[in-house]
Amino acid sequence: MTVIEVHNLHKRYGEHVAVDDVSFTVERGEIFGIVGPNGAGKTTTVECVEGLRRPDGGTVNVLGMDPRTDGAKLRRRVGVQLQESHLPDRLKVAEVLDLYSSFYPRPADWRRLLDEWGLAAKRDTAFGKLSGGQKQRLFIALALIGDPEVVVLDELTTGLDPQARRDTWELVERIGERGVTVVLVTHFMEEAERLCDRLMVVDRGRVAAIDTPAGLIAGTLPEQRIRFRPSSPVAESLLAELPGVASVTVHGPRVEVAGTGDLLHVVTSVLARHQIIAADLRIEQGTLDDAFVALTGRRTT
């Protein structure tokens, strides 16, 4: 079932076109990633989905509602973590959760959220005294406080140290396991690869590709390299004639085969037929980072 449908979204700020014809759909229970360089239009796109901005063109449908006209009703069912936000410094953690839960008709139990997000020991701590990671966890808890069907997490782990980032990933996986649909905006490819079922790559306000992480890599960087040390010498021609093989190089005792398709299977089966054992076998394939660079011509970080 489709929960978010965006068609031909356009949004400009003055002369600057932020989003230029973006279309995508998100299915129920999916973790859908939006990746792209800074200024690609990721945040503007999700802000149109949340109803915080009015698109200049195109249609947005979330849970069967138009964010432009059904904003208040929609926000009862969609949780949002904004890229940048604050709370009054002197407000305490438990007070924040209690207050925000009063905004929703059927809120989640905020005491349970407090435990789940590791904030129980901080319940009487003022917001201004929390660490970056704790603030971030509080904002995720706030995104979940209305017991939403969809959550939008924008730049979830920016500014967190690597350990806090990994901890946060586990928590996001847990949200996904509960059947909540997650839209995740990020510029960390590792994060996108680990968490997302599907990804949309956005560049200069346009969609560069939408696919699974593995599909994106295979689609943009089809070439793989296999390196191994054969137990007895292999004739180059034996491998070079195999389907999908582009090149074979022999460096002393090591052989390197480059090609596309089901390369590993093709190579290992011909070696097995000749009773050659491949030792130290390594497969090299493009990473999501590489695919991203190939798609946008830019590095992510």
Binding site: E50, L52, S85, H86, S102, F103, P105
Partner: protein, 238 residues
Amino acid sequence: MTRLTHHELRLFLRDPASTLVVLVLPVGMVVLFGAIMNPGGGSDPIETYFPSAAIALGLAQLGMNLLPTTVAGYREKGILRRMATTPIHPARLLGAQFAVGALLAVVAVALVVAVAALAFGFDLPGRPLAFLVTCVLGILSIFAVGLLVAALAPTSRVATGIGIAVFFVSMVFGGVFMPAETLPEFMLTVGDYTPLGAFMQALRASWAGGWPEPLHLLVMAVVAVVFALASAKMFRWE
């Protein structure tokens, strides 16, 4: 809404500086001048000056300084925006701010009147109804000025700057720093048309037992309506 107001009140009271300027300072002023001049309930017009000035000072701090700084800060820090992602419109937060401000204003007025009359023998306001009408119009007009500052200022620092400027000019021209009878004629005339000046003169008139000049009530009412509408029109949520 009550929960939101409750939270805002709690936040206000957690900031010692706010409580100090809005509640402690006006009462302190009455205590200080009460002790120095030892009023005896005479009819010297100066006796209406001190408690009125104390009230005007507290309300001006609250409405022209704290209110715009807080509201502009809420916008600048994205607190209004965060709230816009919930089913509750952030206008409710401004409503809660207004409610907390009004409540504190009433407490400040009550404290000043009580301390002035009970502890130091200043007269009670001579015409309570006129005093009450004056206070309501004064709170509305001064808060409307503060809201307009919050609507126009891009950041809380700018809001504080504008707020302080408006505050001092109002205090000087409005006959709060110095009794109006000691001010030059042109300053008095200007002061009559400022909300704080009109408030101050109306307070003193009702304290002395009369009705304020209609001009002063009219100035406060017009400022309250016009400035409130203007700030509603110009307010940006982010």
